[in-house]
């Protein structure tokens, strides 16, 4: 398998009154072709900013300070507006947060599909069969093509957006909070369908969400982000069964699950925070129950955990582990 997306030394900030506030700090990540890669982060982690930066769709006052996002051998951040527009929906696609609001309210769904074809120079007549097959994949009847968005339920609109994003068969699909605002039952169905389609078509999927449970349910790989930095990443099973970073460990422990015993051990304290530039040590130190003096002094770097496909950012590992 080859690498489809590589993020190198990415730094993203928001311009403000007193200079730039850093959101993403020196971010590095490699994603293999054909996998579902999940990025988890709570508020303040910068995960939405990261998603937009990867797609090069970040708007002012957000600015990319430095770094590269290599997709298909090209640096997405260096593409011209025109080149960028051309690869969108064709090679890579982005399904935004609250996707059910992402449809143009005054145009029929069918016409919105045709807009996509028109934009990428596809023949509209010849492309109708593609719509049929992609609607089939997301389990929508062709009747939706004659509807306006408001005539559909939230779940149907979500499926429509997914279909629209996939209709030109892109190789990389980025999903930002794919199920926010959906009903539990619909959420479950849509997650299953997304995963089924991914396995059928073999594209690479990057899922970004705050919801750890669903992320672990669908991903092959997971990266945990805290305050603009990766704290730990690796294969799902390694991350789940024996986490090497306290954040991941404590979050997993505190997730309520049906039938599971209540966790009564050491708990995560405080609320999530943004990246802090004044903090020279570990970003997680303010919430970490296991921190020691050394955590204040040195900024921890990513270290190899299990073999070559697991990394964590903690100087206290494995001492803190119970």
């Amino acid at each position: 398998m080859s690498t489809i997306l590589e993020i190198r030394n990415l730094n993203v900030g928001y311009e403000g009154e007193n200079g730039t506030t850093k959101i993403i700090n020196n971010f590095n990540l490699k994603i293999e072709e054909g996998v579902i890669f999940g990025i988890a982060g709570e508020s303040g982690s910068g995960k939405s900013t990261l998603a937009q930066a990867i797609y090069n769709s970040l708007r002012y006052p957000g600015i990319i300070e430095s770094g590269e996002v290599i997709f298909d051998g090209k640096d997405i951040l260096k593409l011209s507006k025109r080149e960028l527009r051309r690869i969108r929906a064709v090679d890579t696609t982005f399904i935004p947060q609250a996707a059910m609001n992402a449809l143009n309210p005054v145009k029929r769904i069918g016409d919105q599909f045709n807009d996509v074809f028109e934009a990428h120079g596809e023949d509209i007549e010849e492309s109708q069969s593609r719509i049929q097959s992609v609607l089939n994949m997301v389990r929508l009847s062709p009747e939706v093509l004659h509807s306006y968005p408001h005539e559909l339920s939230g779940g149907m609109r979500q499926r429509t957006v997914i279909a629209m994003a996939l209709v030109l068969s892109p190789k990389l699909v980025i999903l930002d909070e794919p199920t926010t605002g959906l009903d539990v039952l619909v959420e479950h169905d849509i997650l299953r369908d997304i995963k089924r389609i991914q396995r059928q078509k073999g594209f690479t999927m990057l899922v970004i969400t705050h919801d750890l449970s669903i992320l672990y349910q669908i991903s092959d790989w997971i990266a945990m982000v805290y305050a603009g930095e990766i704290t730990e990443y690796g294969k799902r099973e390694d991350m789940l069964n024996s986490p090497l970073h306290p954040y991941n460990y404590l979050l997993l422990k505190s997730l309520p699950r049906i039938g599971a015993e209540r966790y009564d051990g050491i708990k995560l304290i405080g609320a999530p925070s943004n990246y802090s530039e004044t903090n020279k040590g570990c970003q997680f130190i303010t919430r970490c129950p296991f921190s020691k003096n050394e955590c204040q002094i040195t900024h921890p770097e990513l270290e190899a955990g299990y073999g070559n496909d697991h990394y964590y950012r903690c100087v206290r590992t494995p001492d803190w582990k119970p």
Binding site: E42, V184, Q217, L251, L255, G259, R262, A271, P272
Partner: protein, 247 residues
């Protein structure tokens, strides 16, 4: 949703809440669970049927009696970013219910003790803060302190944690438990999330399209659901250890 729609959103619901009980009401969206919460605080009126509170039918209360009833049954909302007035500080939010219910002790001390109750310590650090200076979890705590200020006998929590960060959810749920224990009040926890319901409630009612489809002891229902809708909900409850597999 218009009012007339929501009134029809519940049909023949019989429900009982015991003293000092943590009761769960579970259902997907459209199940009528939020309508139920609003009917219980009489923001909507039932078209037929009764709400009996401490032996009296309260469904038609008006004016002074309505206000008195409401002070005994408070509600915590889903979105802590919307349930606090952005133009007033924490102190105001807790002081108003005390003034309205004519609290006869020292109001200042009461505000402090309420803030301590919801674990916002030290209180002095929070009293003058405005909602936008607080995190989601802190807002939800402030809101709980406001609800508790009327000295309610029942607290209705409508999806109180679904908009909070994962790491904060447990804290708020623990707070519900400790409120129940220390104040002896009854709590109705309304949610779509069976994971959290199974963790803190004593009994649950499962609502589907305005009807109760199953109810009883929490443990026995989540381990042995009879109704197919309950089974679906349990299956759909996200669990990191249950990987979604497709063929």
């Amino acid at each position: 949703m218009t009012r007339s729609e929501s009134v029809n959103a519940l049909q023949n619901v019989d429900m009982e809440l015991n003293q000092n009980e943590l009761l769960g009401i579970v259902g997907a969206s459209g199940s009528g669970k939020s309508t139920l919460a609003r009917i219980l605080v009489l923001l909507y009126r039932p078209t037929s049927g009764k709400i009996i509170f401490e032996g009296n039918d309260v469904s038609n209360l008006k004016g002074k009696n309505l206000r008195k009833y409401r002070s005994q049954i408070q509600m915590v909302f889903q979105d802590p970013y919307a349930s606090l007035d952005p133009f007033h500080n924490v102190e105001w939010h807790i002081k108003r219910p005390l003034v309205i219910t004519k609290y006869d002790g020292n109001i200042n001390e009461r505000i402090d003790s309420l803030l301590e109750q919801v674990k916002l310590t030290p209180p002095s650090q929070y009293r003058n803060k405005f909602p936008h200076q607080l995190s989601g979890g802190q807002r939800q705590r402030v809101y709980m302190a406001r609800a508790l200020a009327t000295n309610p006998k029942v607290l209705i929590a409508d999806e109180p944690v679904s908009m909070l960060d994962v790491s904060l959810r447990i804290e708020i749920l623990d707070l519900l438990l400790s409120i129940k224990k220390s104040l002896g009040i009854s709590i109705i926890y309304i949610t779509h999330d069976l994971n959290t319901v199974s963790m803190i409630t004593d009994r649950i009612y499962v609502l589907n399209q305005g009807r109760v489809v199953e109810y009883g002891d929490t443990k026995s229902i989540v381990t042995n659901p009879r109704d197919s809708y309950t089974q679906q909900l349990i299956k759909a409850a996200p669990d990191p250890y249950k990987k979604i597999e497709v063929d």
